[in-house]
Symmetry: D2
Subunit: 439 residues, 4 copies
C-alpha cells in the first residue's frame, strides 16, 4: 500500500499528528528495503530481521501462486502440501531459474526472479567492496563451492573446449569430486615442503600451463595449514601468457583482506576466469550456496546456462538475507574481531606448545593455526576434543592424508578463529585442549 | 523430556487426573513423530503442521550449533547472521552431506544427518507404496530433476565407463543441459508421428542400444502432448539384453498409477538403473529437490559419492515435510481428485473445441490435454491467458520447438489437471479460454 | 510500497508482462486487506493467513517502537526483551488504550490504535449481520465475559447511579464474581421448574424491576440445560417501562439465529443497555476477549472510560484475526454445520437413553442436550469421560450446584454440539459415552 | 521424547560418538528449560529464544485441544479459526484461570495451568531477588497496573470490608479509575511543595489513617517529577498501628534498588498488603500484565478469587517469556546501564539548562529528570519533540494538571532514562531538545 492510502485509512479516526508519526515510522522502516530493491547494493548498515521479513514477504507476494484469482493449470504450480511448508520456503515455492538457465526470469515467479537478481547484485557488490573491485559480474548459486566449481568447469568445456584441469594438490575431496562430476581429466600438480609450509610446485605448474592443451587451472586460496594459499598472481600471469583459464577456489577467503588483495592483483595482472566463495563460511548463511564472481560478464552468463533445470530458492534467499543482515560496517567489525581472535588463538596455542614441548607450525593462514603433535596420538586428541564439545579442530597424524603432500614430517592439530567465532570459542577450545594434552 | 519427567513437573501443583490427561495428549501428539523417526515409513495419515514443526525442531536441536556449551573452532560452524536466517533454514544450518559424500553422517550435525536418512527412507517408501515396489534404495537430492540426471550420468561414467547417452527426443532443455553438464555425448533418438501422438522410434532406439558402446539410455515418462511416454518396459528389456543402463526421467509420473505400473513392469522384466522424480510436481513441495530410486542399493551409494561437497538442507527438509504432511491416504485422495479433474478438463476442452471447430489431440497423457489451434495464433492465446491470470498453459505454434518432432502438423494449446490442482482451477481456466477463443 | 514503486523496481530486469502479472498478484492479494482497513466491515469471504499476517505486520509497523530513528525517553516505550517476545505480541508491544480510556488513540502507537478501531467496527458489523442489526456501537474488550460484565456494571454505577443487580439465577461463578468485583449488591431472582426446564420466575423479576431502586438487570441467554434462556423481550419491555438498564449476557448466543432474533426484538420492543458475547465461544478465537454491543453509542463510550489503564493488545488482535479469518459466508456454513451436529447429538443421546432406560431432558438449548442419569453416578461418568479424552461434558448429580434451581429432580449429563465442533467430535463422544454407561 | 528414545532412533544409522554428541547438545539445550519447570526460579542466565520457543511449545502441547484423539463436546474447546490464530496465542487457546478463580488449574488445559504457575513463581522469585525478599506470594495478572489495583481493592472490600481508599494525590488517571471501577470511595490526600519536590502531606495522611474507618491506603513509588515517591516505610508503620491495609503502586520501581529497599523496609517495619508492578515497564514485556506480590499467601489467594472468569493467556506468556529471556545477571547489567544513562541524561539536561537559563528541578526520581520551561511554551516543545521522533517526554505547563499539586510554580519538561533505554536514545533525545529550545 502506498503512503497516501495509509494516510487515508488512518485519517478516519486517528489524530493528524499521530497519523504523520505513523507514516514517518513506516517510511523509515521501509527505507532500507526500498534501497536494497532499487540500488541492489551491499548496504552500509545491516537490515533488521523485521525488515528482512517484510522484504521477503513483499517479494514472494509477487509470485503467481499467491494470486487468489489465478487459475493454475500447469504441471508445476508451486502448490504446497501445508502452510508449514510455505513457511519453510519463505514463500518462494516456484524456486529460481528457468529450465536451462539459472538466472532467467520465470514468468510464474516475478518475485523470485527479482529476488534472485537482487541477490546476485548484492553479492557481487559485497565481493567488490570487500576487495575484488575488478569483478564485473556475479551470481549466487544454490550449490556449495564444490558443485559450483563443477558448474564452472562444465561451462568451460562447452564454451572453450577445456577438458583438463591442472590442480595444485589440496587434500580435500570436494574439488576432486567437482572435476570428476563435470567429466574433466584431472592433472594434480605436486607440492613442495618449504620450511613448515606446504606450497604448490610453482615451476612445475607453470610448465604444465605452458604445455597442456585445453587445460584450465583450479587454484586454492584457503586450506588448512600446513598447506598455504596458492600464489594466484603468479599463476594468473602465467595463465594470461598461455591463454589458460584460471578458477580460484576462494572458499573462505573473503574474510581475509590479504587474500582478497592478492586475488585482485591477480585479476589485474593476469587472467582470472572466476572466483568461487562459500556463502556460509564468509557470510554466516546456512550451508548451501556459493558466490561466483568474474571479471567477465559473458562468462557468468555462460555459467547460468550450464545449470540443468530449476533450483531451490532457499539457498539464494538465505544468502541474500545473511548479506543484508550484516552489511558492510558490521562486516568490517567482524573482520576485526576475527583477526583479534586469531591473535589470541596463536597466543594460547603457543603457550600450550611451550608447556608440552611442541611448537606452532610456521605457516601463513588467514584463520587457522597448527600445533605439532609429534609423539602424541593426534587422532585421539581430536576425538577427545569432539567429545569435550570442541567442534572444528582437525587432527592429522604424520603420514595421513590431509597435509596436501607426501611425507609431511609432523603430526599436528589445527584450530580456526574464523569470522563469526567468538573470543569465548577460542578461549574455551584452547582451555580444553590444554587440559587434554597436559593430562 | 521424557514422560516421567513431565509427570514429575506437573505433579507439584496440577491434580492427578489433569496430569494424566496432559500426558495422554502429549503422547498422542508425539506418537506419529516417534513413528516417523523409528519406522521411517511414508505414513498412512499425514502429520499436522504442529507435529512437523516439533519434529524438525527436535532434529535440528541435535546439531552442534545448538549446543550452548560448544566451543566452535572450525571454519564452518553453522554460524548465522541473525535469528531470522535460522528460521529460514528450519535450524539446519550445517546443511547435509559430508565433503564428497551426499548421504554421509556429518559429525557436527547429527540431527541433519538423521533428518536426511529419514527423508531418504520415507521418500523410498512413498515411491514403493505408490507403485514401484521393486525399488530397493532411494535418495532425496537437493537438486531438481535435470541436475539429478546429471548426477546419475556422472556416476555412470565413473563407475561403469559410460560416455554416451541415447536420448529419445523430448523438446525440453533440462535433460539436454544435464547430459552436457556431466560431459557425456548425446545421441538423440528421433520420434515418429503416429496418428496425433509423437512417440520414440523404438526400432531405431533398440538398434542403437545394440550398437552403441559405453552408452546409457535416458527415457522419459511424462511430457506435454503430443509427446507420449516412452515404452519403458520394451526399452528396459532391450537394455537388459545388451547390458545398457537405463535412466527413467519420471518427472511428474508418480501421480499416475499407469505410469508407475509400467515402470515397475520395466524393472521386473528388464534393466532399470534409476528412476528420477520431482518432489514439487508429485508431492507439493517447493521446487528444488528430486527423489531418485533404484533397484540397486549399490548404485544409489555411487550416486551419493558423486556429489561434490555439502548441500543446502532446505530442499530435503521441504520434501520430507511435504511427504509427511500428505501421507498415503490423502495422496490416494489427491490422485482420485486429479483423475476427476482431468475428466472435467477433457470435457470442457472438448466443448470449446466443438464450438470453434477444433479438436482435442488423441494422445494419452496422465495429466494434460491438448486442443488444436489450427489457423489461430496459439502464442497470442497463450500470452492472453497469462495476462488473464491463467498460469501453466503451453501454446505451441505449428513448426515451433516443443512438439518433440519435426513438422508436427498442428498448432495446439496444452492444459494440465495435475495433482494438487482444484476443480476451480480447471473450470476457471477453461472458462477464460472459452472467452478468449470465442471473442 | 505503492504500485508505481513496485513497478519501477521490477522494471529494471523483469520483462513487462511479468511485471504486470506481479502487480496483479500483489494487488489481488492486498485487496481484501485494503477493504478491511477502509470499510471496517465483517467481510463476506474470510482472509487467508498470509493476508492476516501482512495486515498485522503493516499495522504494527506504524507504532513508534518500530521507528529506527526514534529516540525513546519515556518510562514505557514498548521495549522487548527478545525478538521471540515481539512475535508473541504480533508486534503490538504498546498494548491498547490510553490511561483511563480503553479506546483512545495512543500517540506512541498509531498502528495499535487503528487496529483496535478496526476490531471494534468489524466486531460490531459481525454482530449486526448475525442478527443484532439494531446495535449502534460495539467494542472488543481484552477481558472475558465475566470481567466485561463487571466493566459495564461499573460504568452503570458511575454514570447512572446503579448499585443493585437483579440477577435471574444461573449457577455460574463468573457473573457472581463480576457483580462483586464492581461492588454492586446482587439480588438473585429465583427460578421455577417447569416440566424439565428451569426458567426465571418472570413475575418475581418484573416485580423487582418495578420496586428496586437504582437497579439493573443482568439476564442470560445461554447456559447449560435444564436452565433455559431468559425471556429477554419480556424483560426488556419491563425494563423500559421502569427505566431500568438491562445487560444481556449472551456468552455463546451469536451462533444461534433464534437467540439473536430474540435479543433484536428485545431491543426493538424495550430497553437493552448492552449485550456481551464471548469471542472464543462464538468466533473461534483464543480465550480472553469479549464483544460488547449496545444500541447506544454513548453507553459504549462510557464503558471505555471505565477501564483503568492500558491493556494487552493480544486479545484484540486474536479476536480481529478470528473474525477476519472466518467471514460471513463461512460463518453461515459453520452455523449450518452446528445445527446438523446438534441434531446428530440429539439422536445419539436419544439412542443411548433408550438403551439404558433414561431420557433426554425436554429443554430448549441452542447447542446442548442433556441426558438424565437417574440412579447412576453422574460424577463418575463425567470423570471417566474425561479420562477417555472426551472434553466438555458436564455431569450434575441430583441436588448438586449447577441446575440453577433448588431440588432439581434429576441427575443428568450435558453434551454440546457448539459452533466449530465436528461431526466426528459428536460421534466419538457419544460412542464413548455409550460404551461407558452400558458397561 | 526421552533420551533413551532419541538414542534408539539415532542408533540405527548414526555412528556412536555422533549419537552421544547429539544427546549432549539436546541435553544442554533443554537443561535450562528443565530447570525453569522444576525449580520455577528467576534464572541466573537468560534463556535463548530457541529455548523459550521449545518450552512454550512443550507446555501448550499438554492442553487438550492438541490431543488428536480428543472428542470435544463443550461450548468452549479452544477451537481456532485458522493456524495463524494459534500462532498468535503461542498455542494457549484455552486461556488461563477457571471461572471464578484466576489461578485455578483448568482441566482442559494442564499446560496453560502449569505455565501460569511457573509464571507466578518465577515472577515472585524475580521480585524477591530484586529486593523484596520478604514477599511470600505473587501472581502475574493479565491486567495492567490500574486494573490490578482495582482487583486488589475489590478483594479488600469482599474480605476485609474496606470501602474507602486514602490516596496520596498523584495526577494519573489510572488509579482514580481503579478505585472507581471497584466502587470504593476515594479520599485524596493532598501534597505539599517542599523545595522543588511535591510530596504527600504525611501528617494529614497519618491522621486519616487513624480516623477513617474501613479504609485502605494506596501509595505510589514511581511517578514523574516533581512528584516524589511516597515514604512507604512511614506509611506502613502507621498502617500497622491502625490495622489499615496498604497497597503500594510500584509501577516501574523494580528497576530501582533504592525503591525496592524502601518497600522491603516498609514490609519489615509495618504493614504492606500488596505491591503492584508493571511487567512491561520493569521487564521489557509487551504492555498488558502486572505482577502483584504480597507478604501474605492468603491475600494473593483472595485476589485470584476476585477475578471474574477466565482470561487471555497472552499477557502471562509474554511476561514469563520476558522474565526468562532476561535472567538475573542480565537484569543487573540492565540496571547498571540504566543508572549510567540517567547520569548522562542529567548531564545533558543540565547543559541545556545552562545554555537557556533554566534549571533542573531538584527532585529525586529513579529514572526521570525535569527541566524547567519557565517562560517557554512547554506544550509546544513537547509537540515538536513528538514530531521530531522523540517519544516519551512529558511537558507540563505551569498550572496544568500533572504536577500532583495545586499551583506548582514551574512549567517543565520531563525525560526518562528507564530500564531498556539505550545511551543513544538519551543522546539523540537531548540533542534534539537542544536544537529545539535553542532555535
Amino acid at each position: 500500500m502506498d503512503n497516501d492510502e495509509i494516510d487515508r485509512i488512518l485519517e478516519k479516526n486517528i489524530p493528524k499528528s499521530m497519523r504523520q508519526r505513523g507514516r514517518t515510522t513506516v517510511d523509515s522502516l521501509m527505507s532500507p528495503i526500498r534501497d536494497v530493491l532499487n540500488r541492489r547494493r551491499f548496504p552500509e548498515k545491516g537490515l533488521t530481521d523485521l525488515q528482512l521479513e517484510m522484504m521477503f514477504q513483499l517479494l514472494s507476494s509477487l509470485d503467481t501462486d499467491k494470486d487468489p484469482e489465478a487459475a493454475r493449470v500447469g504441471e508445476r504450480e508451486a502448490r504446497i502440501a501445508s502452510p508449514f511448508i510455505g513457511r519453510l520456503s519463505a514463500g518462494f515455492n516456484h524456486g529460481v531459474g528457468r529450465s536451462g538457465k539459472l538466472a532467467a526470469p520465470q514468468p510464474k515467479a516475478p518475485g523470485a526472479s527479482l529476488m534472485q537478481q537482487v541477490a546476485n547484485s548484492v553479492a557481487l557488490d559485497a565481493i567488490r567492496k570487500l576487495g575484488l573491485s575488478n569483478m564485473k559480474s556475479g551470481i549466487v548459486t544454490p550449490l556449495s563451492t564444490g558443485m559450483s566449481i563443477a558448474l564452472i568447469l562444465s561451462a568451460l568445456r562447452r564454451e572453450q573446449g577445456i577438458n583438463r584441469v591442472l590442480f595444485p594438490r589440496v587434500d580435500h575431496a570436494s574439488p576432486h569430486r567437482a572435476i570428476a562430476f563435470a567429466g574433466l581429466e584431472k592433472i594434480v600438480i605436486p607440492t613442495l615442503i618449504e620450511g613448515d609450509a606446504v606450497r604448490v610446485d610453482l615451476e612445475q605448474l607453470k610448465q604444465q600451463i605452458e604445455s597442456t592443451e585445453s587445460s584450465a587451472v583450479l587454484a586454492t586460496t584457503t586450506f588448512f595449514p600446513p598447506r598455504e594459499s596458492d600464489p594466484v598472481k603468479d599463476i594468473a600471469k602465467s595463465c594470461a601468457k598461455h591463454d589458460v583459464p584460471l578458477i580460484i577456489n576462494n572458499a573462505y577467503g573473503v574474510q581475509s583482506d590479504r587474500i582478497m588483495s592478492e586475488i585482485r592483483s591477480a585479476a589485474d595482472a593476469g587472467y582470472v576466469t572466476a572466483v568461487v566463495q562459500s556463502s556460509d563460511k564468509n557470510f554466516l548463511a546456512p550451508v548451501g550456496a556459493s558466490i561466483i564472481v568474474s571479471p567477465s560478464e559473458d562468462f557468468v552468463e555462460q555459467i547460468t546456462e550450464t545449470y540443468a533445470g530449476r533450483a531451490s530458492a532457499a539457498p539464494i534467499v538465505q544468502t541474500l538475507a545473511a548479506l543484508l543482515a550484516i552489511g558492510l560496517e558490521n562486516y568490517r567489525a567482524l573482520q576485526l574481531e576475527q583477526s583479534e581472535n586469531l591473535k589470541i588463538l596463536n597466543e594460547r596455542m603457543n603457550e600450550i606448545a611451550d608447556k608440552i614441548g611442541q611448537r606452532l607450525l610456521s605457516v601463513w593462514n588467514p584463520v587457522a593455526c597448527a600445533l605439532t603433535m609429534d609423539g602424541l596420538d593426534a587422532n585421539e586428541v581430536g576425538a577427545k576434543l569432539y567429545n569435550m564439545r570442541v567442534t572444528g579442530p582437525r587432527a592429522v597424524a604424520k603420514g595421513e592424508f590431509g597435509s596436501s603432500c607426501d611425507n609431511y614430517p609432523h603430526s599436528y592439530l589445527v584450530m580456526n578463529a574464523a569470522i563469526g567465532a567468538s573470543k569465548n570459542d577460542v578461549e574455551t577450545a584452547t582451555m580444553k585442549l590444554n587440559k587434554e594434552v597436559r593430562r
